[in-house]
Symmetry: C2
Subunit: 310 residues, 2 copies
């Protein structure tokens, strides 16, 4: 249960990072677009097929060095159900390569509706007597604004199906403080959310010190990251904001515990657009992504004295 599986993958690859799959059409090499537009039409379907081909090549290039991928639902939903099919097939392919899949959907609702999201992303849908996975992720990002009614329905899926969730706590964006930094009896809202995460996690503890209830804490707020690490000792962090958003390797150090565990740092654009930044041949895009992923791994782990260990 919980993030034990993710932690083992991180130790195995010695890499505490996750590749964000936020595909925009402008990131995709022309030869892939042209081929798929020709075969499936220059429309939502053709675009979705191009994204799938692009994703699969990236996964092939990353699967032995990066422990996890994080597809961002928004970039698939914008291609309607064709895009959602690509999301589904991307997850299937990622899992076949042994990687851990964090679905970045920031879903939130209450009661039976939140349970429907749990079924959709972490569970299996019942049709008469059969159960079928709809998306089959390993973990899902969620928003805790609605309180326990929005989180409790996920816990059985963590415990019974070996899944995890990441609750938005202190997000990486500039205006995150408008609500999250507001003080409640001297304590910022993000700390209150953090306390709630620690509390929810009690019902889904793993064997490696971390619960199945993780938190999203941005690399762009290094002080709060360290503050939350010490206030939330059982909560695994998903850390966005490294790279394109301005967070550096030193900024994310506060997210890790003494073993180099406790957090996984995301990079999306940095990896996806590496071929454009390098200016290499577009057919070399997946290897450019691999080079960037290795650079990022080195950038972060150089600060660990003894690597990452259990």
């Amino acid at each position: 249960m919980s993030f034990d599986r993710l932690i083992h993958k991180i130790v195995e690859t010695q890499n505490p990072t996750v590749a964000g799959l936020d595909p925009k059409l402008e990131y995709i090499p022309n030869y892939i677009l042209e081929k798929n537009f020709k075969e499936y039409g220059c429309n939502l379907r053709g675009a979705s097929r191009a994204i799938l081909e692009y994703n699969e090549a990236l996964i092939d290039a990353l699967c032995d060095i990066v422990p996890a991928v994080k597809p961002q639902c928004a970039y698939y939903e914008m291609f309607s159900y064709y895009g959602m099919k690509t999301l589904c097939k991307t997850i299937e392919y990622t899992k076949s390569k042994g990687m851990y899949v964090i679905i970045d959907g920031k879903r939130n609702d209450i009661g039976t509706t939140m349970e429907a999201y749990a079924v959709a992303h972490l569970g299996a849908t019942k049709v008469l007597d059969d159960e079928m996975e709809a998306f089959g992720g390993d973990a899902l990002t969620v928003n805790g604004y609605l309180g326990t009614d929005g989180i409790a329905p996920l816990i059985p899926y963590c415990n019974e199906r070996d899944k995890g969730i990441f609750v938005l706590c202190k997000t990486s964006n500039k205006s995150s403080g408008e609500l999250q930094d507001k003080l409640v009896d001297g304590k910022p809202v993000y700390r209150i959310m953090g306390d709630m995460c620690e509390n929810w996690g009690k019902a889904a503890m793993g064997s490696l010190g971390y619960s199945a209830v993780g938190a999203v804490v941005g690399a762009t707020y290094p002080e709060q990251l360290a503050e939350l690490r010490s206030a939330m000792p059982h909560t695994f962090f998903l850390v966005p904001g490294y790279g394109a958003q301005g967070g550096g390797a030193k900024d994310v150090m506060g997210a890790f515990d003494a073993k180099g565990l406790g957090a996984i740092v995301n990079s999306s654009r940095g990896i996806l657009c590496a071929w454009q930044k390098e200016g290499c041949d577009e057919r070399d895009f997946a290897q450019a992504a691999r080079r960037e992923a290795l650079r990022m791994k080195q950038d972060i782990t150089q600060h660990f004295e003894n690597g990452i260990h259990l």
Copy 2:
């Protein structure tokens, strides 16, 4: 722009309610399930086709008396991309019948990712030189925990494409107070979110007194509903929690302004399961939904002295 179009529909039907389309397989009459399982397979695809047939019959029975429908994404996502196709086709059908569509996705993210959600649900996706609607909703529910970075990307879609959003403010569930009632300098978090809504709405004012930035406020908290109505004079409310969750007609009165405007009250299970509650023939399910929708309209509008008017 803004909710003017929704308001005109409400006045036209004299009905300030919205039918929530949260289809569960157990709500669907057997003859529809059997037919679609036989034709498309007893799987996610067959289930999704059954839901579409069920939804279309409900829309036919409601379209002249109810101004809007609110499909809840979770119940479609649980059937994977087949379910998302049903969501897409349901929206298309609803619009063809002249109804207003509120997509209940509670989406939230920042910057370009939030823009991708805006494109997906309220805008149109660009593929080379063509633009295609992915889901084509009229309004989308969103979560404002991330602050302005998560809401600002939606505003151009409100202004340029005549769309609206509803931001979670005080939700209907029991534990909503865990975060939303916490006091910041004596003011509850839901009021701070309310102030943010009023502020965001300034950039997207309609001609009937309400902006395109609405708020979700639960029927289960009548006092807060009235408090927020007076604190948020330009914010249209989407009110869940009537019926199955325990809110009654008197509880929602505080949501309305003196003209009977300013709010739309949702009922999902009450309408969808009316045929089961009535115990009528399953083939009469759509007319049972209509009877329940008319009962709900009467239940709420009986308290308006002069109907609903501009």
